[in-house]
Structure formats: C-alpha cells, structure tokens
Amino acid sequence: MNMQPTTDAASAAVPHSPSHHFQTAQQEFDAGKLGMWLFLITEVLFFGGLFVAYAVYRDNHPEVFTYAQQYLNKTLGALNTVVLICSSLTMAWAVRCAQLNQRRGLKWCLLLTLTFASLFLGVKAVEYSAKWDEGLLWAGSFALEHPQHARLLPVSLLVLSAPAALGLVLATLATGFFRLVSRPAMMGLSLAAIATCVAFLVGVGVGVGVSQLSSPGGSKVATAEQVVHQEASGDETPHLAGVFFSIYFTMTGIHAIHILAGIGVIFWLYWGSLQNRFGSTYFAPVDFVGLYWHLVDLVWIYLFPLLYLIQS
C-alpha cells in the first residue's frame, strides 16, 4: 500500500464547484452528510425489523436455535468478520487519502476495499453451498433427511462461483481491448474488476480449505457425525428448524445484497479516482460511501455473534 503523502501541485484534483443551490462547499458537504445519515437510519430500522423477527423467534423457540447453530461454521463466520473489519479500515483510510489529495493511496485503498468485499462474498458462497448440499434450507424446503452431497461435483458452489469466473473472463478481455484502443481509465477499471473476481475465487478457495480443516473429510463426515449425534442423544430435528434457516438466509442474504451494492458504488468511486475527481475540496462521495460501507460492517458485527455464536 502506498500511503505516503504524494501531494503536489500537479496532482491536485479537478476543481469542484458546489451546486448552484448551495452557497459554499461546506454547506453542500454538510447537507449531503445529513442526507446520508437519514438514509443510514432507514437502513438501521430496516435491518432492525429483521433483528426483531430473530429475537421474537429465539425467545419463543430457543431449542430450535440451539439445534440449528451446530450447522453454522463458526470459523468461516469469524474469518468473514475479520475480512469485513479489514475492508472498513481500508475504506476509512480511503477517506483520509481523498482529504489529503493522496491519489495513489486513494486508488489503492478503494481497490483493497473491493478485494476484501469480494473475498467476503466468496467465503459466503462456500457457506451457502454447504447448507444447500445438506438440505439446510428455509422453512418449506428444509430437508436435512435428504442431503444432496452424494454428487461428484459441488454443483451449488460452481453455480455461485460462475458469475465471478465469467466476470474474470470478460474483465480480462476488456482489459486487453482497452489497452489496444489506449483508454487507460477504462483499462484501470477493468483491472479492478479482475482483482474483484479473483478475490471472490480466492475467497471460495479459502472457504473450502477452512471448512475442510475445521471438519476433516469435509461435509460428508460432518453429516455422518450429526446422524450419530442425533441417534445417540435421541435428539430429533426440531419441527421448526427450517424457520431458523429462513431467518439465517434472509438476514445474511440481505446483508450480502448490501455488500454487492457496496461493491457497485466503490467501483463508481474507483472510476472517479481514476479521473482524479476527488481531493481536499471535494471528497463527499468517498466519505458518504464510506459511511454506508461502515454501516454494512456494523450489521455484520451484530449478525455474526447472534447467528453463529450464542448457544444458550
């Protein structure tokens, strides 16, 4: 990471003048920030509704949570928490770089944030595909008794990885094309897309590796253990176990959609940084996207322990 101050007169950002309905840049910035916070509280209340659903269900049926939590991989959850904290650090640092006119630093921080976000989704894909293969689905489709893992190929993981693989091919082609027609900014954007897709696939690799390590022999043995465990304790699958997974998939799924949206807007910031649009007099977009990104991290800070860790 190049975080050294690289400010010099030649690299000063493209001048930005406030919109006509604002008197000063400060007024424009403060108004934008207020709007961003208002948006963030709608997000808090939106996720809040889901947390209330979680709390009501857990309060009424604690046995379902105790039962279902053994199927969540705590190591992968903790790994993803660390990945998101890293992405929050690089995002906060990107704001700092923009404020100080550090162009290279800004680009690197945004690129790293994209990479961590994509890594998170890669690990998540491994978790989702493991649930799918074992029939750990939402209420109505929950079918632990009919696991699908007898297949030779991890079909669900391949399906979830396909967009990243396709994106990698397209981004590589685009990089070559924009290099030929000498459009450096578009080429930079394509290179960032390559990094994002590769990070997703690395996340899938790391996720598979970690889940192999944390349950030796992979999911088949884990499932066999579960069957033995159930027979030994006479512990039947609770009737409502699927509802836990409804909550799990809804909460983590909506969070993952927020990560995807975050990747989209960080790409937009990266595009702006390639065109040298941000600097000490205009860094509001970087700051506000940063606020959004930290809120997504904040939701995961609560989701991880509540879904993965609490046992009683």
């Binding site: 920030k33 963030l40 209340l45 929050s88 800070i301 860790l309």
Partner: protein, 113 residues
C-alpha cells in the same frame, strides 16, 4: 483540520473544514475491533449460560460504537448526526421491547410439534 493549508480569501467558499483521521487512530481502532472479535469468538467456547447473550451483545455494541465514533467520524461531526442516529436506536429499542413484551403474553407462539 491541521493538515490543511490555510485557505486564501478567494478559495474560502470552496474549502471544507473536516477532521482527517490519523493513521495511529485508524490502526488503533482496527486493532481493538480485531481483539474484541477474538474475545467474542473465544468466549463462545465457554458456556456462559444466560449471561452469554448479554456478554455477546455488550461486545458487539462496543465494536459498533468504535466503528460509529471513529470510522464514521461521529466524534468529530456536528452532534446533530449523532442525535439522528441515536433516534433510530431508541426507536429500534421500543420496537423490540414492545414486540417481545407482546409475544410473551399472547397466543402467537407457533405450534412446536
């Protein structure tokens, strides 16, 4: 603010007065978040019983506060932004408390077998 050059008169309309986070603070917050994550993950190995949920929520809230105060700059912002955020938290608390109070005393429980 101290990191910025002094604005000259003709560019003052275009100057922003905001706080720039120091690398030291950013890394300290990052380290604290990692330590707290380790603490909450490590504590799940011990069975803390009924205290577990409160311990977990306390640590998560400590982490959330660090993110809000430093990464999201609330400490350096106009306190109006903090008030807006706290309003949402209070509304959420009322939502949660009243809903739980209601389901505890109603027939909304799903059949458990």
């Amino acid at each position: 603010m101290s990191n910025k050059p002094n604005p000259t008169a003709n560019e003052s309309a275009n100057t922003l007065h905001t706080h720039v986070m120091s690398p030291k603070t950013l890394l300290a917050v990052f380290g604290a978040l990692l330590v707290l994550t380790g603490l909450t993950a490590g504590a799940s190995a011990f069975h803390l019983g009924t205290y577990e949920i409160w311990f977990t929520i306390a640590i998560a809230s400590a982490k959330a506060s660090l993110v809000l105060i430093y990464f999201m700059h609330l400490r350096y912002d106009s306190s109006f932004n903090s008030i807006i955020f706290l309003t949402a938290v209070v509304c959420l608390a009322i939502f949660l408390a009243l809903t739980l109070a209601d389901t505890d005393h109603s027939m909304l429980r799903l059949p458990s077998s």
